[in-house]
Amino acid sequence: MTQLIPAVNSNDHRFGNSAAPLELVEYGDYECPYCGRAYPIVKDIQRKLGSEMKFVFRNFPLSKIHAHAFSAAVATEAAGLQNKFWEMHDLIFENQNALDDENIFRFARTIGIDLERFKNDIQQKALIDKVEKDFESGLRSGVNRTPTFFINGKKYDGGWSGDQLLQYLKNQFSRDPLSQG
């Protein structure tokens, strides 16, 4: 059984209730059309499951086929330094066909981050290393396509389109003895 390595930790971008019984991790590529399709589905799941689930996004840019995927990932990390990771993450997925530098800076301006600092941060080795570490953790965890999801640390091999992923998560939740207390 393929396990998430390393487990979710303080280096991750986490959204939602940290004590939630369900943990959904996505390895994604900002320029990948499948991830683009999964984006509103995941949003909808977040809305529907509310405090029952936390969501974590890890970078898995396929740089050889997606020219902007890596720099987009670094841009979200740089936005994260100004506490705007999710704002940037969302804007990028909502505009994934326009990820050149000019647009990335436009997004940064839209979400109101300090542009000078952002420009400096996207060059930082620490952020590049962070994206590469995410990628490597994905390789270790058996990520074999994007998006790949992990639910409570275990690789999810089922479908995610329509409401397949939501239904699966709901079933997990109802089976989880901790949540029935």
Binding site: K64, I65, L139, G142, V143, D157
Partner: protein
């Protein structure tokens, strides 16, 4: 599949329309043989695209990845150019599947290679193998673990 700790059978196949690659030419490197069913099929696309991103990780372990299927050298050329692959695809075309048979990963019914991985060390010895269900992309974790173990063993023996 062939058992580990046995010698990987040598072979020579076309890597491009006018070039051939012999396994024993790579004897100073570890070699990952990735047998796969077919160019252009959905799972193979994902699998080879993933490996294409991993050049850096493989070279860290002095390893070279090679894809093998029964597709023709011309199909390989187009498939490789389309995805910008940075590793060779070998054409096990004539006699069809001969190398796959040699490595016991030929699917007679489908007339194609199975989805199988071998890791071969610098001395040409098979050190790890894995047969994946044909519809499932095995990813890279197994390969990375095998390469790492080989390097760890080497540092213990030195």
């Amino acid at each position: 599949m062939l058992t580990t700790r046995t010698i990987a059978p040598d072979f020579e196949l076309n890597s491009t329309p006018d070039q051939k690659l012999r396994l024993s030419e790579l004897s100073n490197k570890k070699v990952i043989l990735a047998f796969y069913p077919a160019d252009w099929s959905p799972v193979c696309d994902d699998q080879m695209t993933l490996y294409n991103e991993m050049e850096k990780y493989f070279s860290r372990h002095n390893a070279q990845l090679i894809g093998i299927s029964v597709d023709s050298k011309w199909s390989h050329l187009a498939f490789s150019e389309y995805h910008k692959f940075h590793f060779p695809l070998l054409s096990d075309f004539e006699p069809k599947g001969a190398v796959a048979r040699l490595y016991e990963v030929y699917d007679e019914k489908a007339g194609a290679c199975e989805r199988a991985l071998y890791v071969i060390d610098e001395k040409g010895i098979i050190r790890w193998s894995y047969l994946s269900p044909v519809g499932i992309n095995p990813g890279a974790d197994g390969i990375l673990n095998a390469l790492e173990q080989l390097d760890n063993l080497k540092s213990i023996n030195q």
